[in-house]
Assembly symmetry: C2
DNA sequence: ATTCAGTATTTTATCGATATTATCGCGGCA
DNA sequence: TGCCGCGATAATATCGATAAAATACTGAAT
């Protein structure tokens, strides 16, 4: 593979990075099912790359709790369970509460503008039903927390976000976002955040998660998921 | 390398696992200095193994925030800074507070016995000045939190513990544990935990961390490190 | 039928080699 | 003198092959 081929590849960066992003997509979106054995050779063919990048990408994904590594017995996609889902929800609420409050405490105009922009981009994608909505939705939520200036906390939140969204995909993408006025919830969080009202912002944010959580928890309980 | 050689190796498990453990030791103990470039070939010779296990171990360590991976530019040991240290301390307090309270809320006799045992082993190692004290010290703290039944939270706490202990090593192992009656602090935490007094236990645990934290923060501020 | 041992097959883990990329140093030029 | 680009060097990333381990399979004995 020479330089020119590289450029025309679907994504830039090293083969490992591409494999990492692609595999994460596949797991989060549920194309690789929970508990499924991730055979190197199969993935090698599927992603059209060597075994080394695959192995390294899978190693990286173990840190995101999306892949489990069993010594000498390869990799498998992380299992899902109601307990796991509830743990993620609880942790998310605790960590994002803290991050959002610190973010607001460190208020700057630059941050406010970033958040407003992220919200607008998300809204636009939502209205146009563009397929990058999920990406921008995450970007909005991360933007809210970014001003906490706490890289580790932010990374934890990002990981938990991905773990959570995986359950949304498993439950069926269409189901959840029709039921409520999610736009209003987002707008409410944004408004409270830029008004520097940490209590209200946090309450709305956590409510936003808990509503989705209760909905998904119901599905999980009724055995809809794997 | 055949089967018999494997068994006589310093540690068991795959080459990747051995490299992972060894590299983590080296970084936490400060033998690999913060910010130091981690050249594959150098480590390959130092640990007497191939490049693949080294790369994979370094990938795993990035998830522990002990190694930074820069695409196409290799790996380096994570930097240290006062800001980073304070972030770790703050997060640790928040997460361990939650974990400890849940652990106590889920009280069982089996858990109580585990904690008592872990405490005793740590104490014995401390009295005999054995070199596995650090390992047993971590085991005691993790045992306190284990009953929260929250694997992700526990893993976060474990990672933060390692990140924190790294600063202790960098500051010089001897310095901190002479100043206070750490034995009494541990005993106090244990007593409150098995008395199921979550408020007291958490207060003592957090104080335990904050005392060490203030001490190290002082050293950091005076430019003793990095 | 069931269990067990031994064998065949699949899969993982690891090595050695190569291609690609970054880095360093030197000489020419403003 | 200082800076830019080019070539040499070093390091990374990746591949293909092999060794080691686990899994699946077969058939005999109970």
């Amino acid at each position: 593979m020479n330089r020119l081929d590289r450029v025309t590849d679907t994504a830039e960066g090293s083969a490992t990075n591409r494999a990492y992003r692609r595999l994460r997509e596949l797991i989060v979106a549920g194309d690789l099912k929970p508990g499924e054995k991730l055979k190197i050779d199969g993935l090698r063919k599927r992603l059209d790359t060597g075994a080394s990048p695959i192995r390294e990408a899978l190693s990286l994904l173990t840190s995101d709790h999306l892949v489990e590594r069993i010594d000498q017995r390869g990799f498998r996609a992380a299992e899902v369970s109601a307990a796991n889902f509830n743990e993620i929800l609880k942790l998310r609420c605790a960590l994002e509460d803290q991050a959002l409050r610190e973010s607001i405490a460190n208020y700057t105009e630059a941050w406010e503008e970033h958040v407003v922009l992220a919200h607008h981009r998300m809204l636009r994608a939502q209205n146009e039903k563009r397929d990058d909505f999920e990406l921008l939705h995450k970007a909005f939520h991360m933007a809210l927390l970014a001003n906490a200036n706490s890289p580790i906390l932010l990374k934890f939140c990002s990981q938990l976000y991905d773990l959570n969204i995986r359950y949304r995909f498993l439950a069926g993408r269409a189901l959840d976002y029709q039921q409520r006025d999610v736009r209003a919830e987002h707008a409410g969080i944004l408004a409270a955040a830029i008004a520097r009202d940490a209590d209200t912002a946090s309450e709305r944010l956590l409510n936003h998660y808990k509503l989705t959580g209760a909905f998904l928890s119901g599905l999980l309980g009724s055995g809809t998921l794997g």
